[in-house]
């Protein structure tokens, strides 16, 4: 009898006290190439938050193809923060769900992109085909590996970088279109995602050059084969700005708005910036950037806004059905 009462009391006490004890949890929905970065960053932030507030925080991560992740958030995956590949993806969430205000990009510095990257070439050791710039890629017999821009967000950056180069060099949209058409005729395999392309190039030994994000290329060199590959930086490339934002309505629902905001702001602090640089992203903070200047060579970086009038327009003209990319391939 006594025992039962004791247990009931204990159970009740537990049940009552547990909400207060329960750790708050935030969910960061991100895309593929940021896995390593956020694994390290989350540890730092949890530590930082514990010191600041005494609260033990749980940060959950979800990674996948950028488009798929965006759709999941649109269809109900309750992310507190999203850290995605393109502003276009976050625009889509804002537009289709209203969970993020339309002017989200103005809420954090640098267009809400704490770190940036660019597109570079990864070639085999010694650069046997002597590929130095974009023009070399369309020479006969050169095989280019890049994923399918219809299914991979990263691949769209590759495409636009090539386009931006040709437009800069030859001066017209038509010439750019010709160049990109030739470029894709050199592609033997269109993987569905960026990491699939890396594997095709590195593991399967297919292709002479891989078009990749700088951070992915550096990671591939360090993780997959030191000394087997080299990075070639082209004369012109594109400024990739992966944006981050709080999903307001979800955070409000979970009561995590303060943590979510602090989480993203922490990305802009020297600690966050250094972590980004260590994971091969170009830091936005000029001081940290100077510190890591050796790792990131100077490139003439063109923004999507200046060359293509923003992501929405680029997506519509180039990648939607019936767009420029669809005309590269003709029925046989």
């Amino acid at each position: 009898m006594k025992f039962t009462r004791f247990f009931t009391a204990a159970a009740l006490g537990l049940a009552l006290s547990s909400p207060a004890l329960a750790d708050r949890e935030i969910l960061n929905v991100s895309y593929d190439p940021t896995r390593e970065l956020y694994e390290a960053f989350n540890k730092e932030f949890i530590h930082h938050w514990k010191e600041e507030t005494g609260e033990t925080l749980v940060v959950r991560q979800s990674h996948g193809g950028a488009g798929k992740q965006t759709r999941a958030v649109i269809d109900g995956l309750e992310a507190d923060v999203v850290t995605l590949a393109l502003a276009y993806d976050i625009d889509a969430i804002a537009e289709k769900t209203g969970r993020i205000p339309a002017d989200w990009q103005k809420r954090l510095p640098n267009n809400s992109s704490p770190y940036t990257s660019t597109i570079v070439f990864l070639v085999r050791k010694g650069n046997p085909k002597d590929l130095k710039d974009w023009d070399d890629l369309v020479k006969p017999g050169v095989e280019v590996i890049t994923p399918n821009p219809k299914t991979s967000g990263g691949a769209r950056w590759n495409y636009l970088a090539g386009w931006a180069y040709a437009k800069e060099k030859y001066g017209s949209e038509d010439a750019a279109r010709d160049f990109v058409t030739k470029l894709y005729q050199q592609v033997p395999v269109l993987d569905s995602g960026a990491r699939g392309s890396t594997t095709t190039f590195v593991q399967r030994g297919i292709g002479d050059v891989l078009l990749a994000w700088e951070n992915e290329a550096l990671l591939a060199i360090n993780e997959l084969g030191k000394g087997e590959f080299e990075i070639v930086v082209p004369s012109v490339s594109i400024l990739a700005e992966p944006p981050v934002t709080v999903v307001d309505k979800n955070a409000e629902k979970h009561g995590t708005t303060d943590v979510a905001k602090a989480y993203l702001e922490y990305l802009y602090t020297p600690v966050g910036q250094k972590l980004a640089a260590e994971h091969y992203y170009r830091p936005g903070d000029p001081e940290v950037a100077r510190e890591y200047a050796d790792a990131f060579p100077d490139v003439n970086l063109i923004t999507v806004d200046s060359a293509f009038g923003g992501w929405r327009k680029a997506q519509e003209t180039h990648f939607n059905d019936g767009g420029v990319f669809d005309h590269i391939y003709q029925p046989r």
Binding site: R60, G76, E78, Q203
Partner: protein
């Protein structure tokens, strides 16, 4: 029946018939070799590759990949999903096979085809249909949100997707079997006064148990291995909504090839375990039957 026939044939006769009902030795060897070559090229070599990759960093790395907390969580979730999907589809399979093979009615072929359909649905679409129904912009989305329920990007969605892709297995295995067996035994039992439930348990179930077992094994294997549909509705939250196949993909995308193949080899092993269980049951069954025949023969002799 068979006993009657064989007891009539003399030993010399039996040799003749034996030769006539099997093939020449060279043909038997050729056919066996062909079948094994096919299995070798299509199954064994890929499997060897998986294990080779899995052990490419040694035993320790293999074990480490399997004992990591996220991997354990994925194992648990996979077992939960399969543990719910298989019984649900077994009950359905029995009901469907019973109604489709014991009665005549209109629209039977359409119902059978509907049962087959989930196999033809692309995994991408299989995930999409549940998004269209349960997603926050789907048919039931707003209502679910109002009541603070989540189906997709949570465990129920994963179970639903698993049920969908394994939906036809048990029914499909039982329908041809029960059709072939006919109803005479059940009718006999019923006219002798057995209840419907008794007839099902004592007459139908024993005669379909092997087909049922095959169905369960296939259903279970596929439930644990499904990737595409589950990947659409899971949300990929590490340590929360990742099943084993999704965990494999994550590891692969992190360039942890050895770990990815280690987890994949675990899935292959899980499938082999169910098959060993099946082989054991079959062996036991055969032994029991042989014992029974011998006992019967002894009785007859005395």
């Amino acid at each position: 029946m068979s006993g009657a026939v064989s007891s009539l044939s003399t030993p010399a006769n039996a040799v003749v018939t034996r030769r006539a009902v099997t093939e020449a030795a060279w043909l038997r060897i050729l056919l066996t070799a062909l079948a094994l070559a096919f299995l070798g090229v299509f199954l064994v070599v890929p499997l060897v590759l998986v294990f080779q990759e899995a052990f490419s960093k040694g035993w320790q790395a293999y074990l480490a990949a399997l004992t990591e907390p996220d991997a354990w969580h994925a194992v648990k979730l996979t077992l939960i999903a399969a543990g719910l999907a298989v019984p649900l589809n077994v009950v359905f399979g029995l009901a469907a096979a019973w109604s489709l093979t014991r009665f005549q009615f209109r629209g039977k072929q359409v119902l059978i085809t509907l049962i087959d359909l989930p196999f033809a649905v692309s995994p991408v679409i299989a995930g999409l249909i549940y998004v269209l129904v349960f997603g926050s912009r789907g048919w039931l989305g707003p209502w679910l949100e109002e009541h603070n329920l989540s189906i997709i990007y949570a465990v129920p969605g994963i179970v639903l997707a698993t049920v969908f892709v394994t939906f036809p297995f048990v029914a499909r295995e039982l329908i041809p079997l029960m059709q072939e067996q006919g109803v005479s035994q059940e009718e006999a039992a019923l006219t002798l006064g057995a209840s419907g439930w008794q007839t099902f348990r004592r007459v139908t179930l024993p005669s379909i148990k092997w087909g049922l077992l095959y169905g369960i094994i296939l259903c279970n294997a596929r439930a644990m291995g499904e990737f595409g549909a589950v990947s659409v509705v899971s949300g990929h939250i590490r340590g929360k909504t990742n099943t084993l196949p999704l965990h494999v993909e994550i590891l692969y995308n992190e360039y942890q090839f050895a770990a990815a193949f280690a987890v994949a080899s675990l899935l292959a092993l899980l499938a082999v375990v169910t098959l060993v269980a099946k082989s054991f049951l079959e062996f036991k069954h055969q032994r029991d039957r042989e014992r029974a025949t011998r006992a019967a023969a002894r009785q007859e002799a005395s």
